[in-house]
Each structure stands twice: as structure tokens, then as C-alpha cells.
Amino acid sequence: MSDVLVVADHRRGELRDVSYELLTAGRDLADAMGGDLHATVVGGDVAAFADKLDCEGVDAIHTVAEGEEFNHDVTVAAVTALFEALDPGAVVMPNSVNGLDYAPAVATRLSLPLVTDAVALDYDDGLTVTREMYGSKVETAVDVTSDPAALTIRGGEWPAAEGAGDAEVSAFEVDVDESAVRSTVRGFEEVGAGDVDISEAEFVVSVGRGIEEEENLELIEELAEALDATLAASRPIVDNGWLPKNRQVGQSGKVVTPEIYLAIGISGAVQHVAGMKGAETIIAVNTDPDAPIFDIADYGIVDDLFEVVPELIERFE
């Protein structure tokens, strides 16, 4: 019999979607462990957040009213103190950029085993975490042979918790040692503004690592022009400086929802898919028949883009 503690994710006044997914993952795990589900939210308008987190299946919500925005030092102090007070069988955190900014320190401070980026959790006499390796090419099962454990879950893998709950909401007081706060958030900036907003486009032609060289980009620009489509790209193209940040589709770039998304030489890493899975029709051209992009594509061509793209341009010029 062990309880489960989940830690909500919020940013700039909003709870992020993964918070509700954490409630579902946490509820399932708490059922398997035979315990209660506790949720906590650290910082921001905690009363409003607690209200929203009070979904079906949540037994208790602990609010920590410390600061407006996320600060990892404060979060680590709050989560470790709450963990020690509740003594749960697992603490489940988001595998978001902020989650990865505090979860490892929660694990080291409490001497807990840590498994990140879980896509499934099973508990039967012991915890087994399913997670991917080698850029989603391999799925592994990891047994956690001691408990309690610290976990982070991938966004979008669990359904969001719904319904009204009757969780007991209480304030949890944490003594934050000011001298232990070594980082200060100075502000936020939206990046990737510019001449074009790819998130508004109806037809997107997107190019990835398969294009190999900067000189070859011209070919895709020609294609986009012939098709009257908006040009976008996956992360490596932007990292290389071949296209500006406002053209990047994915978790750290833009989310696009066009009618047609034509992915050229894009393998379909989970971070990319997060930015385009809402497209109506997805078409992929890639040499690797096992590329994850084909898992979400409606139409596919398994071939060299340098063979297919010129043919396609010819037909629409």
C-alpha cells in the first residue's frame, strides 16, 4: 500500500496539459499500488490551479504558495519536503523542459532511482517503466528494483483527467532557504516571430535532415513554390542555421494544423510530431520504411527525396 505524488506543471499563469495527464498516470499507479493520489502545485495562483486539478480520482491537493513563476530551487525544496511528509511509493513529474530542470535534483536529494520520459507504467509486485531509446527506434522495459521511485512521464501519452473531484485541498508550508536559491528568472521572450506565421498555413511543405546539405534546400523551396505551400522545417535544419527559427515545427518551435503537411526527409521524432500531428492529411517522403513519421502519415513514399521531389515539381510547375 503506497500513495503516489504527482507534481503539476504550469507556466505563465496556465496549467500545462501534461498536468492533467499526470493525474491519470498517477491515479492508475496509485490504484496498482493500493494507495491514494496526491497532487501538488508549486508557485503561481495555487488556489486557482488547485481548483482545476481537482479532477475525478484525486484524493488530496497540496498547494505551495511560493513565487509566481517556476523556480527549480523552490520546486526541489517543496517536492522533497512534501515527499518526506507523505512518504509515497512514487513521485511522478512531467518530462517537460521545466520537469527536467528539477526532477533529477529531487531524485538525488531523496536518493531515489530515477526513470525519465516514461510512455507507460506498470506495477505488479514492482514497477516497470516503458520508455524509448535511440530516438524512438527501440522501446525498452525498465524494472525499478527498489521503491520508492522518481519518474517523469512524456506528454501526450496518457489521457487527460476529467470530471469533478472532491480532493482535500490544503496549503503546504515549505521553508525555502533563500541562500539555496541560486537562479533568478528575469523574464520570457517569444522567439520565432518574423515575416511568416507557419501556424496559420493551410498547406505546409516541411524539410528535415534528409536534405543533407544547405545547397539542396533550394529544391524544397522550389517545391513549396510550385505547390503554393508554406515552407517549414524540423529542428536540425534550424539548428544548422539554414532556415530561421520561425520556420521550425515541433515541441520547441511552432505547432501547425494545416490541411496538408508534406514531410520531406523528416524521420518524425516525438518532438517534431508534437508540432504537426494535428494536420488533417500527413504525407511523408523518407528513405527509411521504419521511420516513425510513417506511423502518423496518411500517405507515404519510401524513396530518395532527390528522386521524388524533382518529379513532383515538374507536375505542378
Binding site: 527549480h72 530542470d101 538525488t108 525498452t140 522495459a141 511523408a284 506511423d295 496518411d298 500517405y299 530518395d304
Partner: protein, 262 residues
């Protein structure tokens, strides 16, 4: 000033790989410097180039084969390197990222750096947790997923790349560990001169006992219990044939959707 940069040799799997039991046979694996660490090395070398008296030390945990990778960091400008390996590590199937961090922390405690740069994650096991765990073990400040970095007296001003095109501007006091995101710079290629010089740079090999670590440390709570190719969920219509045929089929789909209509 001393900058410690953590690097890892990672395996990339070939397109048509197979799994045998709990591992992938060597024939399907190709080893290289972890992409994120390449950016971290570049960031460290640039700090050294911009200032006087900066020493860049690269540290890795890996078998003898990985010396090729850490020599690459030396060829790109790191001053010396430390490779940690042990029979116990050779036998471990999967390390908890906090275990990896404990080993690196033992090296960092000896080196006493002002700044530690780590890649955000390793391309193979993708835990994305070692850098922050290391910072906490060393009682240092940290920032995760950094895509811009400026150093001033006693602090680092960084941008953290959050989701959805938002960046967080944060100041972290030094000493600190920063986890470096791809795209922060343009990693250089090692020059021939650099590669030659790297052969003469100091590369120290340490076993766990040298670092006052008990080899039983690697028997952590994580055990690899299964490995499989993810089931394909594809229900895509795949066009077959040569480029001419597939392009024609795709043309039909696009024209049906209204593309090319005047």
C-alpha cells in the same frame, strides 16, 4: 577559470537493425560523439578562446573504444581529458542517470571547475537528467536546456528553451552546471592540426576505486527487462514503384485536395 565538459560516446542504430535479447548486435551500431555534447564542447572551447587562462577538461564514462570520441573533443580544443571505466561498468546493462551523475561528480570534485557544461541528453538512452543531477550532487547552481549563454563575474546569463517557441531568461550564480541544447552554436570540425595535437594531449584513465567510489554503486535500482522495436501503428497508404509512378500518385492526392487549382 576551469570548464569541465561532460561527453558521451553514443551508438546510433542502422535503419534495418535487429534486436538480440536485451541488446543490439554491434554490426548494427555506429559510434559517435553525442550530438548535444558536440555543442557543449563548442561552447566550452569558445569560452576558452574569448578569455585568458581558461582550461577546458573533457570527461567521459566509456570503454577504450570511446577514446576516439574523447580525442575528438581534444581535437576541437579541449586541453585534456579524463576517461572513467571499470569492469563493473562494463557489466552494467543500464545506469540510472543519478548513478552516472555520481561518477561524474567524483571527477568534478577533484577538478573543482567553475563551470560544467553537459549536453541536454544523450542520443541513446535519452534520460536528459545527468547534468541537473550532477549539479545537485555538487551543490552547484544549474540551468537545463540552455540555448544561449553569456558569462559575467560570478554568474551566467542564459536562455532556457521552453516549449512552444518561448525562452526563459535566467541568471545563475557560478559555479554552475548548464545543460546545452543543440543549435546554441555551430560546432566546428576538428582541423588536421587539431587532430594531430590531440594525440599528444593528456588523457587520464580512472577506475571507480581511483575516485573513491565503490564498484557496487553501479548495481543500482534500474534493470533492463525488455527491448523491442515499437509496433508500427502505421495505416498509411504507401505508394509503390519508381519515383515517376509515386510522384504521379501523390499528384492525384494533392490535386484532389485542391492543390494546383487556379
Amino acid at each position: 577559470m576551469k570548464v569541465l565538459v561532460t561527453v558521451k560516446e553514443v551508438a546510433e542504430v542502422a535503419d534495418d537493425f535487429e534486436i538480440e535479447g536485451l541488446s543490439i548486435p554491434e554490426t548494427f551500431l555506429e559510434y559517435d560523439l553525442n550530438e548535444w555534447d558536440d555543442y557543449a564542447v563548442e561552447a566550452a572551447v569558445r569560452i576558452a578562446e574569448d578569455r585568458d587562462d581558461v582550461e577546458v577538461v573533457a570527461v567521459t564514462i566509456g570503454p577504450e573504444r570511446s577514446e576516439e570520441t574523447i580525442r575528438m573533443a581534444l581535437a576541437k580544443g579541449a586541453d585534456r581529458a579524463i576517461r572513467v571505466w571499470d569492469d563493473a561498468l562494463a557489466e552494467a546493462d543500464l545506469l540510472d542517470p543519478t548513478t552516472t551523475a555520481r561518477i561524474l561528480a567524483a571527477v568534478a570534485e577533484e577538478e573543482d571547475p567553475d563551470l560544467v557544461l553537459s549536453g541536454v541528453q544523450a542520443a541513446d538512452d535519452a534520460f536528459g537528467a545527468t547534468g541537473v543531477a550532477l549539479a545537485d550532487l555538487l551543490d552547484m547552481g544549474w540551468a537545463a536546456v540552455v540555448n544561449d549563454l553569456e558569462l559575467a563575474a560570478g554568474e551566467a546569463s542564459v536562455r532556457r528553451e521552453l516549449e512552444g517557441g518561448v525562452e526563459e531568461l535566467t541568471t545563475v550564480s557560478l559555479p554552475a552546471v548548464l545543460t546545452i541544447q543543440t543549435g546554441i552554436n555551430e560546432p566546428r570540425y576538428a582541423s588536421l592540426r587539431g587532430i594531430r595535437q590531440a594525440q599528444r594531449k593528456e588523457l587520464t584513465v580512472r577506475i571507480l576505486a581511483d575516485l573513491d567510489l565503490d564498484p557496487s554503486l553501479v548495481d543500482d535500482a534500474l534493470t533492463l527487462a525488455g527491448m523491442a522495436k515499437p509496433e508500427s501503428e502505421s495505416d498509411a497508404t504507401i505508394f509503390e514503384g519508381g519515383a515517376e509512378e509515386t510522384a504521379t500518385e501523390l499528384e492525384t492526392v494533392l490535386r484532389d485536395a485542391g492543390v494546383g487549382a487556379e
